[in-house]
């Protein structure tokens, strides 16, 4: 067992510098706007901030994700709540048009929380992304812009947690259940910074 640990440590020590040469740190900071649902309650998330920090290796980036936004409900304006999310994801640059212009797709998992005066829902989600990014070298750094679309998929909460007061029109009754998962659709647009 000791030998195994020793060999592992030696291999890791040798491999780390080689891997470090091909790893690059990069980040994204975006303005975001979108629609987020909780069961039968459809809310509007804006303005918002979406951030990503990750490590790139080739066409892949492992990233941490953070979101924060105001969350309002059409029938209850101007009152607004909040939307916050933390997650991890994987971004893949699938199409490279050259000159730093690339199309990317991403997938991630996270946990978000929606708070309103009568709603407080925290749940896990899956995030899917698609977008366009452009980067240019500025000295040793890279700087650019991106525009993208994001989709958040989460399980709908029990209808009992949703008060009828925030629903409009055909709000689900206490016994009703949403037939499919909740969806959040968002647009992001912002800056890319990296090594």
């Amino acid at each position: 067992m000791r030998r195994l640990c020793f060999v592992t440590i030696v291999l890791a020590a040798l491999a780390a510098p080689a891997a470090a040469d091909s790893l690059k740190f990069s980040s994204t900071i975006d303005f975001t706007i979108g629609a987020l649902d909780v069961g039968t309650v459809h809310g509007f998330a804006a303005p918002g901030l979406h951030g990503e920090v990750g490590v790139e290796h080739g066409a892949w980036r492992v990233q941490g994700e953070v979101d924060t936004a105001l969350w309002s409900i059409e029938s209850r304006k101007p009152e607004s709540g909040s939307f916050n999310r933390l997650g991890v994801g994987l971004r893949w640059y699938g199409l490279d048009f050259g000159s730093g212009m690339r199309v990317y797709g991403s997938v991630g998992v996270g946990r978000h929380r929606l708070e309103f005066s009568e709603i407080d829902v925290a749940r896990n989600d899956i995030a899917l992304g698609f977008g366009l990014a452009q980067q240019a070298k500025l000295g040793k750094a890279r700087i650019g812009a991106n525009v993208g679309l994001r989709l958040l998929v989460a399980n709908a909460p029990d209808a009992g947690v949703l008060p009828r007061a925030v629903c409009r029109g055909g709000c689900a009754g206490p016994s009703a259940e949403v037939q499919h998962g909740d969806l959040g659709i968002m647009m992001v647009m912002g800056l890319e910074l990296g090594q």
Binding site: G39, T40, G98, M101, G170, L183, I185
Partner: protein, 293 residues
């Protein structure tokens, strides 16, 4: 010894004042020159003296010489020595410094333009044919089973352009805000044929007005109730600004195609024919940033 000393002193005392007094006339008095004093230098800067100069000049000559060098290799130098007496100056040898040789003139050919046509799909119109990816975002105003609603929309889009003709496919996802018939989401997969009815080119920029017609398949996903599918037809208009970004020289030399980047806005009217109910309609506004090549 005394005689020698007297002789030396006499020489110093007599000759020195005479030299000082007749310094200007020294050549006249002391120099004798016969022959012509025209020095010509032909060839590579070596003056030759034609004529017999048997002059010995022990005086002070105030000679002036002028040298002219014509041509790069056949320099001729003329030296003219003039004395201020009967006997003009003697031979002068003038060695002009050799001029550096200039390389022969070479015809300069203008550099090859960076805008090589190698990567251009069509030499006449490099903006014509392209493949575009569009991340579009917007909103939809629609009726579902006759009840009006609205919602935000996202629409990833692919386009292929053949001169003025375009093919497009897109995936539209709309948040269906709750109304009397509930809420939910609408997913639509569509395809359209498009035509650039008008376009305006400014250098590497194109402004296009595009008309489109197509059809799609809708999937209605209400919060409550059963998911159902239906078909629709659509017409629309798009306004687009697209600029061609120049690849670097390496890319150009390797035949890389140009890159396009711009902005596009589109308005689409969807009609969903229904047999036993009024037709549903929808207006979708989408705005996006296209890139492609």
């Amino acid at each position: 010894m005394r005689r020698l000393f007297v002789g030396v002193m006499t020489t110093v005392l007599v000759v020195a004042p005479l030299r000082a007094a007749f310094a200007d006339a020294a050549p006249t008095l002391l120099a004798s020159d016969t022959g012509s004093d025209t020095a010509t230098d032909t060839g590579s800067d070596t003056a030759t003296d034609t004529g017999s100069d048997t002059a010995t000049d022990t005086g002070t000559n105030t000679a002036t010489d002028t040298g002219t060098d014509t041509g790069s290799d056949t320099a001729t130098a003329t030296g003219t020595g003039t004395g201020t007496g009967r006997n003009s100056a003697t031979t002068l040898e003038i060695a002009l410094p050799e001029k550096p040789r200039l390389p022969p003139p070479v015809a300069v050919t203008p550099p090859t333009p960076v805008l090589s046509k190698a990567w251009s799909t069509t030499a006449a119109d490099p903006l014509a044919n392209r493949f575009i990816v569009l991340a579009a975002f917007g909103g939809a105003f629609m009726t579902i089973d006759g009840v009006g609603t609205n919602g935000m929309a996202i629409q990833p889009t692919l386009q292929r352009t053949f001169d003025r003709f375009e093919l497009q496919t897109d995936l539209l996802l709309v948040d269906w805000n709750p109304r009397s018939n509930g809420g939910g989401h609408v997913l639509r997969l569509g395809a359209a044929a498009r035509y650039q009815a008008a376009r305006f080119r400014v250098s590497d920029l194109t402004l296009d007005a595009v008309l489109e017609a197509g059809a799609g398949w809708q999937r209605l996903m209400p919060d409550e109730g059963v998911v159902r599918n239906r078909a629709d037809i659509e017409v629309g208009i798009g306004l687009r600004m697209l600029s061609r970004l120049l690849p670097n020289q390496a890319s150009s030399a390797s035949g890389a195609r140009p890159i396009f980047f711009g902005v596009e806005a589109m308005v689409r009217l969807l009609v969903t024919p229904q047999r036993n109910a009024p037709n549903d309609v929808a207006c979708v506004l989408a705005f996006g940033l296209p890139i492609g090549r």
